[in-house]
Point group: C2
Chain length 198, copies 2
């Protein structure tokens, strides 16, 4: 449609997640007219990210060093491991300031439709970490959807012979939400998981 | 929220038009896990675009050379000039294959709210081009919105002393649309511009 590098740019932008052909065009035209310094800075950061960002060799969290900030922190509890799907889940949990243990990032969830089975996730590495007798509890904090639940079920079965405490995050009504708008599964879980009023 | 270069990348992506904080995060995480070659290619194209893409010295269309493909083409009619707001309008009109003349890209439309007056557009350059006695018609193909109409009205006033034929694109019902869903302004224009049935 367009000429030369302009079309190349639109094509490359269109490969990004959530960027359709129209958005790719819009971003490309913006960049054509943008200050060259801004565009060069974006290019430099793209290269820098790939050069600098590694995955923690212990928990597979994103890190600029061999091990991540959390694994290096001696004040984090060594006895509890929280298993999540992705790096962004680590960030979300860190924001709550509720969890003081360490993480294990699986790199996704079991999803046969996408060709992701247990072997594509870092489950072998998790089991290996659990050889450490200092770890007494594993919290399975996968997403509360089909793939996340399947992954948690699979992990529960794999981990039960190890004699650890294996827990799941509570399901229930989201805080600040309206009961009448909760879906039936969530509401059902909220009933099943009800606790005594204080 | 995130650490180091990952946050830098999210910030830079968030500056792009139509990319909110959530999309910026999503794109950044995608890039973290993407093949380094793909990311380096995107970075290289960003730099290449700023190095290669210039604006045609005659019509201000996007071009990789001093003058654009259309201005260089001797088969294009020299007598008709089509005035558009942006490069993407040139592409849209080229797609119709209805126009065989040349273009003049204003670089936007008059919009006092955005601080864009006639001096910020390439109107002086347009008037200069019209000194060429070979040009007999100017088609004002600005957008059919407030800013585009204001720009066309301003240009009509500026160009009328030059003794040229100055025309506007027809307004009316979009082809393939439903009459009942046309807004009243469009429908009104379609009545005003009605032509005898063949």
């Amino acid at each position: 449609m367009y000429e030369g590098v302009v079309q190349d740019l639109i094509d490359e932008l269109g490969r990004l997640p959530g960027v359709g052909p129209k958005s790719a065009q819009r971003i490309a035209f913006h960049l054509l007219q943008a200050d060259p310094a801004d565009v060069h800075r974006l290019a430099a950061i793209l290269n820098e990210v790939k050069a600098k960002v590694k995955f923690c060799s212990v928990c597979f969290n994103v890190s600029e060093e061999e091990t991540c900030r959390i694994c290096r922190d001696p004040r984090r509890e060594q006895s509890v491991l929280c298993v999540v799907e992705e790096y962004k889940d680590v960030v979300a949990i860190e924001r709550t300031r509720e969890f003081r243990g360490r993480y294990h990032v699986l790199g996704g969830a079991i999803s046969p439709i996408d060709g992701i089975g247990p072997d594509q996730l870092r489950i072998r590495e998790l089991v290996q970490r659990l050889n450490d007798p200092g770890i007494t509890e594993v919290i399975l904090a996968t997403d509360p959807n089909l793939e996340g639940e399947a992954t948690a079920t699979y992990l529960t079965r794999q981990l039960s012979p190890l004699g650890l405490k294996v827990t799941r995050l509570a399901s229930g009504l989201p805080v600040g939400g309206d009961l009448e708008y909760a879906d039936e599964v969530t509401l059902g879980r909220a009933f099943a998981g009800r606790r005594s009023a204080e």
